[in-house]
């Protein structure tokens, strides 16, 4: 008994001692990695086949990086810490050619002055391509298509065979990581990088991914990049045969950047998502009920748009084909998998207009010398210009009546045709392209804040902030124009032919600036804000989420906070108003007592009837087999997948100089030899002694 206790105690002590010595040697750090992704032809992003280790080396400027690369006398491998904006293809090549690089740490936001927003370069360079996703767009066949992001560096499409991690002081945990790494890097700098012991970081970033998307999916080491799109219509009784024209109001919900945990995309996508939600809210207050109008309104919020317009292309593909359900399961279908089949009620031939919000978060400065203020731009496809001109004229006309004094003082118009300078650039990269590929005759207008070039923050990890006045005004303006135009389209009238009742009704459509501001706050800084909380009760969780990334994630394997919120919000805005009976409440706060009817949903503690649905979004080149595995069906279409990983981690520890490491090794070998010799000798001596006895 005593013996067993002793053994147990010894084991416990050994474990504690091992844990203790691990903690003394290593400091595990929270991490924001760059990961590996694959498409039909190859890989992008980061991979490291073995655990990379590098002494921390701090570089604050371009000169520092050049100096590091050319500096002699540096003996080991290094983890180079640099501001995010110095992470360029040229610098990566320079560092790699020095043969001293183990890994890179890019600081996006930090408390040190060199990382402050004011230290950022005035001109950012978008890490996306010169024409994002255009290879899957409407003009993919045109080798000379217009380049919307001419300064794009294409960094996102580079392959790195070493780890790259980000640091960002966005929350407590990440600030701790930042402090630990910066403190260590500063210690090394103080020690001149040659006075050992120095601080080193070890990285584990092994990606299982292999070759290309097809191979990786076959081996089961990848998951399709994707998520859930959301569509909603106030017309609960919409059918594919009702012959009622449909007005589509569309926006994207996700964006991309090098570090998926940091992906925000305030300008890249959040501005358009907020615009759509604000439009839905304003239209829901129309004094003429939307479901009584001659035309349907359809809101579409697509996800995985940053990945070859996967969300919109899949939606258009599904509504355009008759679904042949081989294994039906009530209202859904098990194979091919569809969680519901209500999208079949949307007849693409009935779509009569598409109005899309693109990047609308930052109105540019006023055009000097023209007397006109900053304006939004309405883009149309030139090949179908005739069909779209009426819609374009209407949106410009609406813009001239909206008048937004704060955004555009003394302006003559608040939106103008993007081709008003006589150059036909066609549509910028947008979800509308997916519709036009299937139905080229649909009148389509894409509203953006740029005429010729996308934002320099497109797909950048720095696209994470907004201005409480400028951004809100800009979105408010775009939402006002879109909501009024959509309202006129749904009524099938224009400004000149409106009846007095209609004129009064359209006057009731006002964008709520506070809502725009709240939405921006909730979607960028704090998911546990009162607005989201009123729908989803997120603060009830033990760790209420704050800033959440806007990377779409991998299909079915991650929670989809923004689609869930967008669904709840749109469900509430498109709910069927029943004047005779008040809504049933308590379905969320008291679920055991109050249960909603089978055709109703519980949204914000109320049972409501709504035609708001999710729609799976992943590359249309990928299909799901009957055994739930994925395969490549058409490699010419988007097929983005993300690699499965081994656990990713960073740990900080002290390294001694290479010389003392050699001494340690030699001493160890000598000690082992000595021990073996001693054992042999003593064995002989004992044998001899025992024999003589």
């Amino acid at each position: 008994m005593l013996k067993r206790l002793a053994i147990g105690l010894a084991a416990a002590c050994a474990f504690v001692a091992a844990q203790d010595s691990y903690d003394t040697i290593y400091n595990d750090i929270g991490s924001l990695p760059c990961v590996r992704l694959l498409n039909a032809t190859g890989t992008i992003g980061c991979q490291s086949m073995d655990a990379a280790t590098g002494v921390l080396f701090r570089t604050d400027t371009q000169d520092d990086i050049q100096q590091f690369a050319s500096q002699g006398g540096l003996v080991s491998k290094y983890t180079v810490v640099m501001p995010y904006w110095l992470l360029t293809n040229a610098n990566v090549d320079l560092l790699k050619s020095s043969h001293k690089l183990a890994a890179i740490i890019a600081v996006v936001n930090g408390t040190d002055p060199v990382y402050s927003p004011s230290a950022r370069p005035t001109i950012n360079i978008s890490p996306d391509t010169t024409c994002p996703n255009c290879e899957f767009g409407l003009y993919s066949d045109n080798p000379n298509q217009y380049q919307w992001n001419p300064t794009g560096s294409g960094l996102l499409y580079s392959q790195f065979d070493f780890p790259i991690y980000a640091l960002n002081t966005m929350d407590v945990r990440n600030t701790m990581s930042y402090n630990a790494v910066m403190q260590a890097a500063n210690t090394n700098r103080f020690r001149g990088y040659n006075n050992f012991p120095l601080k080193a970081l070890q990285f584990h970033a092994f990606m299982w991914a292999a070759q290309d998307a097809g191979t990786c999916l076959r081996k089961g080491w990848c998951t399709p990049v994707g998520g859930a799109s959301v569509w909603a219509t106030p017309s609960i009784n919409i059918t594919s045969t009702d012959n009622k024209p449909i007005v589509v109001i569309s926006a994207a919900m996700d964006s991309r950047s090098l570090f998926h945990d940091l992906t925000m995309g305030v300008e890249s996508s959040i501005s358009s998502m907020v615009t759509l939600l604000a439009v839905a809210e304003a239209l829901s207050r129309s004094s003429i009920p939307l479901d009584t109008m001659p035309n349907h309104i359809l809101y579409t919020l697509f996800t995985a748009e940053a990945w070859g317009f996967s969300g919109s292309q899949r939606f258009v593909q599904d509504i355009s084909t008759t679904i042949d359900c081989l294994k039906p399961n009530g209202a859904s279908c098990t194979y091919p998998f569809y969680s519901d089949l209500d999208f079949e009620r949307i007849n693409p031939a009935n779509i009569h207009a598409i109005i899309e919000a693109g990047q609308v978060g930052s109105l540019g400065p006023a055009t000097p010398g023209t007397g006109s203020g900053p304006t939004l731009y309405a883009h149309i496809d030139n090949t179908q210009a005739a069909a779209s001109t009426a819609l374009l004229d209407q949106i410009v006309q609406v813009g001239s009546t909206v008048g937004n004094v704060t955004a555009a003082p003394n302006s003559t118009g608040t939106i103008q045709a993007a081709n008003s300078d006589g150059v036909q650039r066609g549509l910028p990269p947008s979800s509308s392209m997916s519709f036009l590929k299937a139905q080229p005759q649909i009148p389509t207008v894409v509203v953006t804040d740029y005429q010729k070039e996308m934002s320099l923050l497109t797909s950048s990890d720095l696209d994470d902030s907004w201005d409480p006045v400028k951004t809100v005004n800009s979105i408010q303006l775009a939402a006002s124009i879109i909501s009024k135009t959509a309202w006129l389209q749904a009524q099938g009238v224009n400004n000149a032919t409106m009846t007095p009742a209609q004129q009064q009704a359209i006057g009731s459509i006002q964008i709520n600036g506070q809502l725009v501001s709240d939405l921006l706050y909730c979607l960028t800084q704090n998911y546990s804000c009162p607005l989201v909380n009123s729908y989803l009760n997120v603060t009830a969780s033990p760790n209420p989420p704050t800033r959440l990334p806007h990377y779409t994630g991998t299909l079915y394997s991650q929670s989809q906070p923004f689609p869930i919120f967008a669904w709840s919000f749109l469900a509430n805005m498109t709910r069927v108003q029943n004047a005779t009976s008040p809504p049933v409440t308590g379905c969320s706060s008291n679920p055991l007592v109050v249960q909603c009817a089978s055709d109703q949903y519980c949204v914000g503690d109320q049972c409501i009837l709504t035609m708001t649905r999710y729609h799976d979004a992943f590359g249309v080149g990928i299909a799901m087999a009957e055994d739930n595995s994925y395969y490549i069906k058409d490699a010419s279409k988007p097929v983005w997948v993300e690699a499965t990983w081994d656990p990713i981690g960073l740990r900080l520890f002290d390294v001694t100089s290479p010389r003392s490491q050699k001494v340690e090794l030699v001493v160890g070998v000598l000690l082992t030899a000595l021990t073996i010799g001693l054992v042999v000798v003593s064995k002989r001596v004992i044998k001899k002694t025992l024999k003589t006895d």
Partner: protein
């Protein structure tokens, strides 16, 4: 304990050598190599049947042929298995992650 080869009679050696030679055709090419190594010490005994010598020579030729075939296959497999797609995966026992 088996009898050492030196103490075996010539007929016994002939039987062993034939068994090993024929056994090699049951997808056990190492038996041919073993045949040569096993009989080697007594290969020049005058009382040995000339049949044994023939078995040894054929075992040698076949084992070298198998070595060449295996080595070539291995080289081709390692070099091309990733390009063979699904078939390459089926032929691989343990798939190597990351490639």
């Amino acid at each position: 304990m088996a009898k050492p080869i030196e103490r075996m009679g010539s007929h016994e050696i002939l039987v062993v050598s034939r068994k090993l030679f024929l056994g090699g055709f049951c997808l056990l090419p190492f038996l041919w190599v073993f045949n040569i190594l096993y009989i080697w010490p007594v290969r020049n005994r005058p009382d040995l049947s000339p049949q044994v010598r023939r078995y040894l020579i054929m075992s040698g030729v076949l084992s070298i042929a198998m070595f060449v075939i295996f080595a070539t296959w291995y080289g081709v497999f390692v070099d091309h298995r990733l390009n063979w797609g699904a078939r390459g995966d089926t032929l691989t026992v343990v798939l190597v992650k990351g490639v």
